[in-house]
Symmetry: C2
Subunit: 110 residues, 2 copies
DNA sequence: TTGATAGTGAAGCTTATGCTTCACTATTTC
DNA sequence: GAAATAGTGAAGCATAAGCTTCACTATCAA
């Protein structure tokens, strides 16, 4: 599927438990592809596929030195996520305010 | 797929753009299944399926009165999401602190 | 009571997703 | 240089996800 917008990609990336497990791991310390694969009990290839997705939405950054690729968490993607929540919270709050206004209006019933 | 934990379900639910579109709609005001279907250009059935998922992870609450089901946003699910981010941020911060400690240590090189 | 309206349930279709295997390329290390 | 190590790429596979259609139920309205 074509994932256009960044919000879209971040949520899609985080929708998978294995990818969140990778982040759980990286949040403690950077690590290599092989170590991730060992910890998760999946192949190197599978990890590589997840990493690609995580990199595309700026949740992870990787760097290859020699033959070993080191992965670390990147907070850019998380910011997108937080912004989304903030936006929704503010709309939600505004709606509650409107509701409060209505309720606060003088009782016009007879 | 069996979705066990609530974090798991919330992220999975939010991973789909149509479901986020539903929330975008509901954050402004509660609405009915039919209206949602019209706005999204999909069938009532499809909306019903999405609603079930959104309800299961406490992102939406619905109530059927007569023959019409009214859907409204529910913030319980969002709390799970925010908590997850907070947890990761704090771990991330701790890691940066450790790094800072290391960097702050008196230079022992000769 | 007849007809329209609002939604539900089951089945099936198509595409996406997560994973594996196998072959292959770089790097180290002995 | 030979053997081990770290990772990549292409192909394929099973399952899941998102939809639709069609048949059906429940409610409201004339």
């Amino acid at each position: 599927m074509k994932r256009g917008h960044s919000v879209d990609r971040v949520f899609h990336a985080l929708g998978d438990p294995t990818r969140r497990a990778i982040l759980d791991r990286l949040v403690h310390a950077p690590t290599t592809v092989t170590r991730l694969a060992e910890g998760l009990g999946i192949t190197l290839t599978a990890v590589g596929q997840h990493l690609q997705i995580l990199e595309e939405c700026a949740l992870v950054r990787t760097e290859k030195l020699g033959r070993v690729r080191t992965c670390s968490i990147q907070y850019l993607g998380f910011d997108v996520l937080e912004q989304w929540i903030r936006d929704h919270r503010s709309l939600w709050a505004r709606r509650l305010d409107r509701l409060a206004d209505v309720l606060a209006e003088p009782d016009e019933r007879k």
